[in-house]
């Protein structure tokens, strides 16, 4: 299993330092969460860790792969996958084809084999279809396989995106606010799902606002504020860390916050 090592990572748009001098590591096989108030740089960090943004300073290494400044498909090739805050589903395909596309990094058949539809390709396609169908069932979307993606409801699309990410059998899965837009019962469904994914040995990194979900599934939490590391530690440590509460709820209502946090747990 491979460790994600981030050293002095920085990313600024014009004068704004969205992320500055950030260093941390994500050990394999655990559930990590990245939390912080709005504008703390969570999404920017997520985009940096998947090559969507190119860092202005610092480095990103994943196991033996030096990924700093590489295009996103090199991150995917290294075994990193993600979902998106606003769904990026391939709506011109069926659900099954979406998940099959998720396995693109594992494909070994060449262009010529594709154009001549060689037996080797036919076998690879059948196998890819088969594995994709398994991941669809893993996300309880088995019967939606042949339906066009644009006919599926929002909740199913959320799970489809996760299925697509998992289909590539990544070592590291980054989830961008998976609970956003879901009702409480669906959020609980996501929590169970994250545990099932972690159980398969895949490292999960969660970027999320839903504190209940974060506290419930996270082995390790990194708190960001204005692009810098505010705090890091287990769920327990972070819940009672004064700086975190202050950053979230502002200094004035300190007492009230203490009460609030306990009720929340």
């Amino acid at each position: 299993m491979t460790t994600l090592v981030v050293r002095e990572l920085g990313c600024s748009f014009g004068g704004v330092h969205a992320v500055a001098g950030l260093s941390f590591e994500i050990a394999p096989g655990t559930v990590h969460s990245i939390i912080g108030p709005n504008g703390a740089g969570k999404t920017t960090l997520l985009n940096l860790l998947t090559g969507v943004y190119v860092p202005t300073s610092g480095s990103i290494r994943f196991g033996a792969h030096e990924l700093t400044g590489q295009p996103p498909h090199r991150y995917a090739a290294a075994g990193i996958a993600r979902t998106f805050q606003n769904l990026q589903i391939f709506f011109n395909m069926s659900a099954l084809e979406n998940v099959m596309t998720g396995r693109h990094r594992l494909e070994r058949t060449g262009l010529l084999a594709a154009m001549l539809h060689t037996p080797r390709l036919a076998r690879a396609e059948a196998e890819c279809r088969e594995r994709a169908l398994e991941w669809l069932r893993f996300l309880e979307l088995g019967d939606a396989a042949e339906r066009d993606a644009d006919t599926l409801p929002y909740g199913a699309l959320k799970r489809l995106e996760i299925a697509r990410a998992l289909a590539g059998e990544p070592q590291l899965l980054l989830l961008d606010e998976p609970a956003a837009g879901l009702n409480p019962s669906e959020a609980l469904g996501i929590a169970a799902l994250i545990r099932r994914v972690a159980a398969t040995g895949t490292t999960v990194v969660l970027v999320e606002h839903n504190m209940r979900l974060v506290m419930e599934v996270s082995d390790h939490i990194l708190v960001l504020d204005h692009g810098k590391r505010l705090a890091e530690g287990s769920a327990e440590q972070i819940r009672s860390d004064a700086r975190v509460i202050e950053a979230y709820l502002g200094a004035a209502s300190e007492a009230h916050a203490a009460g609030e946090a306990s009720a929340d747990a």
Binding site: A81, M93, E107, L111, A114, R129
Partner: protein, 334 residues
């Protein structure tokens, strides 16, 4: 709001899984076999060589459109310069066969390959552009090609065009519209077969993926720049090959074949027939090649009727003829 999620259907898994892959190939080839049937029966309607000639022109345009559909329909990359590749294929074949004394068939294949190399070299930087900027860059590329062909008149005969020797395959001179028809029918079938295979492969899915969300495709491991280049070169090869064949068939070629008006005509055929639909490209090429022949009786009103027909079809069939008709066919069958 959220669909009722049935517990994992354990029982039928086995059947569904086993059944699904086996059924798919037979369905995929059904379209090809029907096209082959139509192409086989068509000559029965050839009252004279003129009708055969029109059928050959349709097949030539269809081959270009099938390639262009991969680029525009599936990969979502607009090109308004593919007549430039068509013209280079035509003039490349003609020049190699006349001035360089290369046997015609070898000239055709060599010219096509050279255009492929050119497309690969030019495609890299051009495909970093998006939407209307890509359209303009390819439009500009096509115009540069047609200007060079028009201006280098010592070599190409300039605007008045140049004669092209007949095509000989293994010693046999290809003569007569019927012989040409069978060759073109074969090439069109091969083009459709190759395109369908590509679409139903990981590369095909990668292209469709980067059409809707390039970043999600990248995160699935798709090198979008490389895949766009692949489909750009493939569509250029289809256009160049058809261009070469057209030059040998007509025995004559003029720079108009490389003009931006021809590029726009080709894109119109693809969108008219239906984007992301190989058979849409074939139907679009058929209808828009045939229409001018049918509308000649309208004399001065031809352009008005053609423009109006084009607009009406696109307004009432926004996704193109074949996708709209096949959606109606689905709804009607269910």
């Amino acid at each position: 709001m959220e669909s009722s999620v049935p517990c994992a259907a354990t029982v039928s898994d086995g059947i569904a899984a086993a059944g699904l892959p086996a059924m798919r190939p037979r369905r995929r080839l059904r379209g090809l076999t029907l096209l082959a049937l139509v192409l086989a029966l068509l000559p029965l309607g050839f009252v004279n060589d003129y009708v055969a000639d029109v059928a050959v022109l349709i097949a030539l345009n269809a081959i270009v459109c099938v390639g262009l559909n991969l680029l525009i329909g599936y990969a979502g990359q607009i090109s308004l310069g593919h007549a430039g590749f068509f013209g280079l294929g035509a003039y490349g074949s003609a020049l190699l066969a006349t001035h360089a004394g290369v046997p015609p068939l070898a000239a055709l294949l060599a010219a096509t390959a050279l255009v492929g190399v050119l497309a690969a070299l030019v495609g890299g930087p051009i495909l970093r552009l998006k939407g209307h900027y890509l359209a303009m860059a390819t439009l500009g590329l096509g115009i540069i090609v047609s200007i060079v062909i028009t201006t280098e008149d010592r070599l190409t005969g300039g605007p008045d065009g140049m004669a092209v020797p007949p095509l000989t395959i293994a010693g046999f001179v290809v003569q007569g519209e019927r012989a040409w028809y069978w060759i073109l029918a074969g090439c069109l079938l091969a083009a459709v077969w190759l395109a369908q295979n590509l679409i139903a492969s990981p590369t095909g899915r990668a292209l469709r993926a980067l059409h809707t969300s390039e970043v999600a495709a990248e995160l699935a491991g798709v090198d979008s720049a490389r895949h766009k280049l692949i489909v750009f070169v493939i569509s250029a090869l289809f256009a160049a090959f058809a261009g070469g064949l057209a030059a040998f068939h007509a025995g004559f070629v003029t720079p108009a074949k490389a003009s931006f008006l021809h590029s726009i005509e080709l894109v119109t055929m693809v969108v008219f027939g239906g984007m992301a639909s190989t058979f849409g490209a074939v139907v679009g090429a058929a209808v828009l090649t045939l229409l001018p022949q049918l509308l000649t009786a309208l004399k001065d009103y031809e352009m008005v009727v053609f423009g109006a027909l084009l607009m009406a079809t696109m307004i009432f069939f926004p996704r193109g003829i074949v996708p709209t008709l096949s959606a109606l066919w689905q709804r009607w069958r269910r």
